[in-house]
Amino acid sequence: MRDATRTTDGDLTDSDLMRRTAAGDRDAFTALYQRHHAMVYRFARLMTGSNSAAEDIVQEVFLIVMRDAARYDPARAALSSYLYGVARHHTRRRLARDRQFVAFDGDCCDTTQRVTEDDVNATLERRQTLLRLRRAILSLPRRYREVIVLCDLQDVSYNDAAVAVGCAVGTIRSRLHRARHLLSQKMGCAMASEEDHQRQSVRCAV
């Protein structure tokens, strides 16, 4: 995760960019967007299971950055943690608002892997596993889903995840442990259910 005080050659730090954004520097704002939009989009997409919801959340997060850049304090949190926190807040609002709808886009799990003749079965099986995993993650309670998304799928450290979620590091660890256990169970159930279904189909075919 990118640190507010760290910079690569010639790059401005996140806190420099936030300062300049607060002063009305469009290029700094654009640079911030370029640097962080992907992680916000992926987080929102994995949390909601919807591309369109993720796009809305990215816009909302960067509108907050535009409006409140002057209030950002780099001493309190790395910018990425701050952005995850804002994205998390908007994701929760979005999920609460859309609770009555089915929170899963078919296009969200569209993997663009090319299938060759040699590994059709392997590729299809892998895609099936990923689809099951996405569904299992989306079916997790939100507090477990967010730690899986942050720590296992976005490579966020436990410390940064704790800042983003607003809890202790120990809580992140215990939630992650519980989340993986639940995920493992759900994946097992999904596989067992599919195998059962396949066996019944074979029996019917015979």
């Binding site: 009305g24 939009h37 409006r67």
Partner: protein
Amino acid sequence: MTPMRHDDHALADALEELRRAEARTKTPPHVEAAVLAAWDTAHVHDIANRPRNFWRDAAAVAAAVTIAAGLAQLGQRLQRATEVAPGQSGNSRTLLLVGEPIQQGEPVRMVRMRVPASTLTGLGLRPVTGTPGEHIEVDVIVGEDGVARAIRVGR
């Protein structure tokens, strides 16, 4: 049926594969265009009221002269190439190019904004109608890269 426990290694492998698949995910370009258009809308007053200095003014004059010369040439070419029907002359719009020219067939997005009529003066245009304090609608043509390419004014 008792749910069987999915193997921890298999879960870790699947999570790793999902992580790699997600890493290839890109935010659609229109999201950036919308975010930057929101920035431009929010800062349009700042652009109009920026403090002036000599070099900025000189650069602005040079740019204005270049744009005016370019527009004059473009206007002459357009005038030669097109004939405007008499009934349409009162319904024309002014297109001010502010970036690289829009190529034939290039995908663009249009963002409609309400700005004070006085803003147009800063862009070298004279509002056709209304008082300087009145708000008018302008269309900002944004390229696929999110950068404004042209501003369309007036009706």
